[in-house]
Symmetry: C2
Subunit: 892 residues, 2 copies
């Protein structure tokens, strides 16, 4: 590639081959490629993205000096077409289109027929012998230009047009004759002058300059920025501008315009797919006034051009070795290609196309792997909104757990259970959820909350269950008492009303929306097998229960990277026992509760070990602050008051007051950085001891069944090596006791999470005691940035992302510069001390493709993510290998 040194700012299509998409944009590169291949492309030129960036950096002031280059290019176009830009005798008309590297809605799209004015319109009449065509083209141009370049509202022009139609009794635009269209054009020009105080630009060169600048500026339009933010496209790319000689699909019934895909983008079927309109310009297809016809009918309509189109499609697909998205125009029977680009497709289609192309010998298995992305996998594995349906969005919250689901709403978790038992599909709606609601969440098809962030209880639990969930939808008012959900538009929904949520976009949708069920195709499964053979990173799942573990295996997880041992504490039958363990009045009561919990834990671990069939299971010892398990203080206050008011016995009131006092005394100012993790295990060693004993006993139980079992015990929140030493000493003693008692040997590993920045800094010492490191990138991100995720995502983080302060949400995409640097230190330190140190990620980033690529580069052994993201991680891990190899190849 020669882009880095190529200083050309204006490039003719025919000279552009070999220049990068970075410089020419996607559209420009496609046109250049087609021109080079000798395909019928109307001549034109591309003004590069570098010019756009220069223009924007100059504060939208500088385009001078460029003019001579544009004039030179235009001269070339004039020579090819035999027409002359701005020359009334034989006018050349051009289109001006934006073209960024990635296709992007929200930017100024297209101006057609530029170069027309009162003088040149006469020339067009002369050329075509068709005054109606000429005046129609002129009035369209004035409208389009006034709207997108001059910023006038399109409605003004449409209103004028309607007035003229009314005046002459025309029903459609096509009913208007040349004279009326001329009047319309004049009225448009008068409107512009009235609105702006200056006349509509007559000079074609002036028109061109203004149009080009408008394209550049549209790079920074709100919609374009929002789109880039959502898609993770850099703001630093800029857009190119394509100026191209006009061809006309509206020159009669042997003329047409259309769009088509070289294969079916919904199913992947290897057959041209698209639509066209005869005697029309591109905007007519978009406007939807006339219904376009399926592409198959083109063969009968304009056979020669149709045959040529099929041949062009085949050539382009073979050249690009991917399904293409084409735009074309047929002018008086002659085909012109206006665009080729890789086409967007559904997950199903992506798998089928990639697999078919492999069989056709077009691409290798590795290329097939690259043709699938995370979005495709999600579409393949979760129920999704029927793409043919446009839902009504009531409000938008945080996308906490993907999948689209509809149901009737309930506000009470008990009711969720009852209704579900009656066969109803329910959406549980709460201000926020807490452990007491868990049975309701299990029974519901989806969960919607008005408060809380991406680490709120609802979000974490729903993700773990693979259940669609939208949280923190603050525009909704949830009144549990009244049983109402009030939308921003004032709509009030009651218990039993239908509602849908899209956990991929965070949208709350009106009514029951149609969804498509998951359907992992054979082609998809084949490509995933290739991915598994390719990747170096192991992929594990975060799973807390035997059910989770089963699911994780089904999705291809090769172990559990994070079993949050305390998640089992939240089950309705266990929570009271946990509370007793914490609040019990006497040591005896607390120890009795602990003993009961040990039985529960052992039984869960047995189930998990069985499900994982000898794959490693990393169990994190108790992590959250104990107050998370306690009843809310306000609730206890109310209970005390109510006991008093009903005249309950004094000892009951005293006991409740004691619990309240204890709960209040456990309140923390910043619980995220308080008494939790190993700090808890060290200050309350009896809980750790119980957990370790349960793990070892469960392992012995499973080994006794003749199964394999590989527990890995993980200490959370370690910041100082002494913490790990204390924990390890305790573990080893208990492990020895259990193994002696059972007369068995358990192959147990002992390791630590790296989630406190300090842990990364002292990793070399930690590795003396730790046999593995698991990067807890959620907390590591929180502390490295000093962001409490719950708070940040409710307030400034959103503002930061919207205002481009940050390139991405660091909780979704691993911050390689900051957090990643700490991980690099930790890897270097850890491996220096213990060469065979096992390393992995168990934060949410373990399911994010960009973060997985970083993990691969860092040389981690595995990533771990929620079961539903395991296939995405498997694919991303393969991508990382292919990406790294191709980068290495480029550098050779």
């Amino acid at each position: 590639m020669s882009t880095a040194t190529d200083m050309r700012r204006v490039v003719l299509f025919r000279d552009g081959r070999g220049l990068s998409r970075d410089l020419l944009g996607g559209k420009g590169a496609g046109l250049a490629e087609m021109a080079a291949q000798g395909l019928p492309v109307p001549p034109g030129f591309t003004i590069t993205t570098a010019v756009c960036l220069e223009y924007l950096a100059s504060g939208d002031r500088k385009l001078d000096g460029l003019e001579s280059e544009i004039r030179a290019a235009m001269t070339a176009v004039e020579q090819t077409t035999g027409k002359s830009f701005g020359n009334p005798a034989n006018p050349l008309l051009v289109s001006v289109r934006s073209g960024a590297k990635f296709s992007m809605p929200g930017m100024m799209d297209t101006i057609l027929n530029l170069g027309l004015n009162r003088a040149t319109v006469a020339g067009v009449i002369e050329q075509t012998g068709n005054p109606r065509f000429a005046w129609d083209a002129y009035r369209r141009f004035i409208g389009m230009f006034s709207n997108v370049v001059l910023g006038l509202r399109l409605g003004n022009f449409e209103f004028l047009l309607e007035q003229y139609k009314h005046k002459v009794g025309a029903r459609q635009d096509t009913d208007l004759d040349a004279a009326t269209l001329k009047d319309v054009a004049e009225a448009y020009l008068a409107l512009v002058e009235r609105e702006l105080g200056i006349p509509f630009p007559e000079d074609p060169w002036q028109q061109l300059k203004m149009a080009i600048e408008a394209v550049f500026r549209s790079w920074n339009s709100d919609r374009a920025i929002t789109y880039r933010r959502h898609e993770g496209i850099s703001d630093d790319l800029g857009t190119a501008v394509n100026v191209q000689a006009m061809v006309f699909g509206n020159m009669g019934e042997d003329s047409a315009t259309g769009v088509c895909f070289t294969r079916n983008p919904n199913t992947g079927e290897a057959k041209l797919y698209g639509e066209f309109l005869t005697n029309a310009q591109g905007e007519d297809v978009v406007a939807g006034i006339r219904t376009p016809r399926p592409i198959d009918e083109l063969d009968a309509t304009i056979p020669e051009a149709a045959a040529q189109l099929r041949e062009v499609a085949r050539m382009l697909e073979t050249h690009y070795r991917d399904m293409q998205d084409l735009e074309f125009t047929i002018e008086r029977g002659r085909l012109y290609m206006l665009q080729t680009r890789n086409g967007k497709r559904t997950g199903v289609a992506a798998a089928r196309i990639a697999h078919d192309m492999y069989r056709e010998g077009l691409i290798t298995p590795r290329e097939a792997i690259r043709r699938l992305n995370a979005g495709h996998v999600i579409q393949m594995l979760l129920p999704r909104l029927d793409p043919s349906y446009t839902p009504e969005v009531l409000a938008t919250g945080l996308a906490a757990s993907p999948g689209t689901v509809g149901g009737v709403i309930v506000f009470d978790p008990d009711e969720a259970v009852t209704w579900a038992e009656k066969g109803k599909e329910v959406i549980l709606v709460r201000p926020e959820t807490c452990p007491d609601d868990i049975h309701g969440m299990i029974s519901a098809k989806g969960v919607l909350t008005s408060r809380g962030g991406n680490t709120s209880h609802a979000a974490v639990v729903a993700r773990g269950m693979g259940k669609p969930c939208v949280v923190g939808c603050e525009a909704l008012q949830v009144d549990v008492q009244a049983g109402t959900l009030t939308c921003p538009d004032g709509t009030v929904l009651h218990k039993g009303d239908a509602l849908s949520i899209n956990g991929e976009t965070g949208e709350v949708l009106k009514g029951l929306v149609p969804t498509l069920p998951p359907e992992p195709s054979a082609e998809f499964q084949q490509i995933m097998r290739w991915a598994d053979e390719t990747r170096k990173l192991g992929v594990r799942a975060n799973a807390d229960t035997p059910d989770d573990a089963e699911r994780a295996r089904a999705f291809g997880a090769e172990g559990i990277g994070l079993c949050r041992s305390e998640h089992m504490f939240f089950a309705p039958d266990r929570l009271p026992v946990v509370q007793q363990m914490i609040l019990g009045a006497t040591e005896k009561e607390r120890q009795a509760a602990l003993a009961t919990l040990e039985g529960f834990q052992r039984q869960d671990f047995v189930g998990i070990f069985r499900a994982m069939q000898g794959y490693p299971v990393t169990i994190r010892l108790l992590d959250p602050p104990l107050h998370e398990f306690l009843p809310n203080a306000t609730k206890l206050h109310e209970e005390v008051a109510s006991l008093r008011s009903v005249g309950a016995p004094a000892h009951e009131i005293t006991e409740k007051q004691r619990m309240l006092r204890q709960t209040e005394s456990m309140h923390e100012v910043n619980p995220m950085m308080g008494l939790r993790g190993c700090r808890l295990g060290i200050t309350r060693p009896d809980i750790n001891a119980m957990q370790v004993r349960a793990i070892l006993d469960a392992a012995c139980d499973v080994l006794a069944e003749g199964l394999r079992c590989a527990p890995e015990i993980m200490v959370p929140l370690v910041g100082h090596p002494a913490e790990l030493k204390v924990a390890k000493a305790q573990l080893e003693q208990i492990a020895a006791e259990v193994q002696e008692r059972r007369g068995m040997t358990v192959p147990v590993l002992f390791g630590t999470m790296i989630e406190v920045p300090r842990a990364a800094l002292v990793a070399s010492t930690l590795a003396e005691d730790a046999e593995f490191f698991s990067f807890g990138t959620n907390d590591l991100t929180q502390m490295t940035w000093g962001y409490s995720r719950d708070d940040a995502e409710r307030s400034f983080l959103f503002h930061y992302l919207e205002n481009k302060l940050l390139p991405a949400n660091p909780f979704q995409v691993l911050d390689t510069e900051g957090v990643g640097q700490l991980m690099r230190f930790a890897m270097q330190g850890g491996k220096a001390t213990r060469a065979n140190l096992k390393t992995g990620i168990c934060g949410e980033h373990g399911g994010d493709p960009a973060s997985i690529a970083f993990a691969h580069g860092l040389g981690l052994d595995y990533v771990s993510c929620s079961p539903y993201r395991v296939p995405i991680a498997r694919l991303a891990a393969a991508h990382a290998v292919i990406e790294a190899e191709s980068t290495a190849a480029d550098q050779r």
Copy 2:
């Protein structure tokens, strides 16, 4: 030094010169030095600290193999003394004493007369012709050994002795005759056998082995550990054991025992100071049964020995070039030296002795600087407890701000003001303080709270005011309503009762304790001038008001390193305006409040700039979460209820409810990591704009007066370079506006705090925009460790320190391994980008000597601390220079 390779485990005093104090302990090294100088030291040997560590590491099991070395050393002692250990014919008796590197209470101190048993006691009678002396020595030995080695309570033995005294009608021990003392000894032996079921060890070698092991074990006694923790002494040093031939001060009126200092440890006067008892053993001096006589009287009592003692004192002081703390015994007119070590002294004495020794040509100014420590400076500059008074401690909280003060207690801040106006000295007692209490804190002499940590409102504000303060004293129950303070022993104090607090120890003291006023002596001031000439680090103060600034200058601060611009918001006349700025119903109301605040801020900054006379003033833009300024939600709830109950107008209730809702909506889960610092400045740029304008206008006001002024504007909590860019752009625009409007140029610097771990990791980029870095080590420690200080110091951190998990509280002593490593990265990155980057510390560590030494090593430009710690910091900065130079010299 040859210590590292010296493998001798038992070292005769006469062979020990040149071995380190690390190995011999302080006492052993002193004895070796004196022996080498030919001073009269009873012969003996030291068992090294290395043996102690070996013994403890072996689980208190291993001393085997050492015995032959001990026997060899004992043989040498026998040869010198002409006596024989365990030989009834001519018995050698020895003392066994612990001796760690640093003098340490809490360890097993002394066993005298070891080697006595039924057989050898007869030998002593033979040697001395004094059966009373022999039996008295024997019964003392049995008692001492049984107590410190066998663990029996001393009271048992004292009770027996009293019984015998009663039986024979003796009033004092000295009234007992030999026969009775023999009976006492036998009764002691019987008691031991009865209590332990085994006879008292008769074999002198067995006695010796047991005594040595007891000394080793006492290294890990609770009291010893607590002392080391408090003094920051490493647990890894171990103690040596000194075995020494007995000499007897109780052999008649020409015998004596005593302790003395070579200069007065209270005043520093250059004159022998101490006391002695004739015909006594060391324990008698300690027991306080007879009143010791001042050392001056020794000249008349035993003139020859006294003259020799004065000569020895002079020699030792000249040798050690420091004031010595001596122990001696005179046996039948002959002087024996038992100990020499550097003596402890008060701040006043330390300064005088150092200065005198400089004038005497004994030490250089740099050595004089080293003779002062932080404790001396505090004593010199703050009122302190009269050391002659032993107060009664009611409870102990956290030492939040030093100084000792007494007064009458009040619970209400308004009352604190009223009472203070009436001339009463009051201690404000609260569960915790909040901004509403500030006027009370200003009026009070000291502040005591039952809740809150070292960063609680009370602690921070009191430190800033230099006012004694104890916080988080949870053993006290403060009932503001009832106006009572209940102590752990059940004592209830009421409003107006007297109480004292010691902010250096955290102790709450009964009644009004006598205190000594601060008195910085001329000698002290001279040494501080030397320190200023020596140090490389600048020393600034953290100061928020013009008063603070004046005080900081008086203490020698060379600028303000941290002016918390928002601390001015808490003043009673401003808080309502601040609340209006946040909660105001309309934009207009909020902007009006902001304008009012701007006036306040400008006026404060003018005062501060004037006070600092052109020294730099670093002003941190708004940092805390806005909800810190708001009324408490519970209080608002109550106000709403009370408005309702009195039937207030609806609009008043509505307005209050609106405020309540808004307050609640601003609640954060982890406010430390939420919407604060630059996140606030970026999301509410109007506040930042107001502050920057106030700073620049104030600077212009001061410059217009012909004064100099050097503001430095600091952005807090930056984690990503974009945050700094946004803030800088805003600053520069406003600075330009003000300078243009005023027609003046302000020499303003722009910089950032490094307090989020990520900031340290991206420091090289930050330095592109920052002209200075100020390390906010408080928050940097919180986030690097993942410790919320408020929570950690209430729960696990205490447990960690007590259980030796951590070497020190990282909030008091900078964690050089973790936090320090991040600081090192930041320095490297920052300096690489901007060679003249200005750097400093503005966290609490800026006043901690160890942390200051680290800052010096890192090459920072300055440290900043509370005004009252400025002299400590100046001294510590000089120490750092001297320390570094001496380390460098050692390595050459």
